[in-house]
Symmetry: C2
Subunit: 117 residues, 2 copies
DNA sequence: CCGAAATATACGGAAAAACATATATACAGT
DNA sequence: ACTGTATATATGTTTTTCCGTATATTTCGG
């Protein structure tokens, strides 16, 4: 079951999914609560879109304790990796993408960066 | 009215539109009858999708006699031009894109290449 | 002016996507 | 075992997208 090019673009065509993907491209791994906070959308909405990305093989997930971390799938075809990277570079400073990054940076109690040094 | 990045991807997410765009990327200008023949789809379908691309500013059209030629819009944002170019490079040899190119090359009586030398 | 070819649009219906709300599952700490 | 937190999924609905057919518009050749 190979994914058709148009299907990749269909996945990028929803703003919530695109914001998640570009944030992962910039930050590496992110858990659902980080994405939910950064984008300012309700959790089921984020989960639903992440499931679509996972089912298509665009992202991988990894459970760590209560959290599930998502990242871009390392085995993507070269061209689609490039498309995501190019898009990130092109829209980085625009809304809502710049705001997502800022909101993530301002998030308190992020799971990865523990309180204990 | 600036186009949102996700909207660009929405336009690329339909296979008919994507095939038209990639063929234009490779061939330069193409008229509707060439696209109709190359893709093997009915004319109103091609016209409808070309109208969507034109309304979004992704392509330009130019009337020459009875024919209307479409090409990628020269003033596109750099990142989306790169996305289209990268995609072309990545999927060039796959179906249905390779077949579209072949069907176009095999088309008799193409308007541009006149019968008279 | 008339017919034919190229292209565009209008229309009604079918299929797909996205949504919010509600609920289920998994894990952590007690 | 119980509670709270994180995440996933199910459900019913609304919105969007896509389609084929039919028709309109433009242009050319006569």
């Amino acid at each position: 079951m190979t994914i058709r090019p148009s299907h990749y673009f269909q996945l990028l065509s929803d703003e919530t999914r695109l914001r998640c993907l570009l944030l992962m491209q910039q930050e590496g791994e992110l858990c659902v609560c980080e994405l939910t906070h950064a984008l300012g959308v309700i959790q089921p909405k984020v989960s639903r879109h992440l499931a679509a990305l996972r089912d298509a093989g665009l992202v991988m997930d990894r459970r760590q304790g209560q959290w599930i971390y998502y990242r871009l799938h390392p085995g993507l075809p070269e061209w689609i990796s490039q498309v995501i990277a190019t898009t990130t570079g092109g829209v980085l400073e625009q809304a809502p993408f710049a705001n997502d990054r800022a909101a993530l940076a301002a998030m308190p109690n992020r799971p990865g960066s523990a309180c204990c040094a």
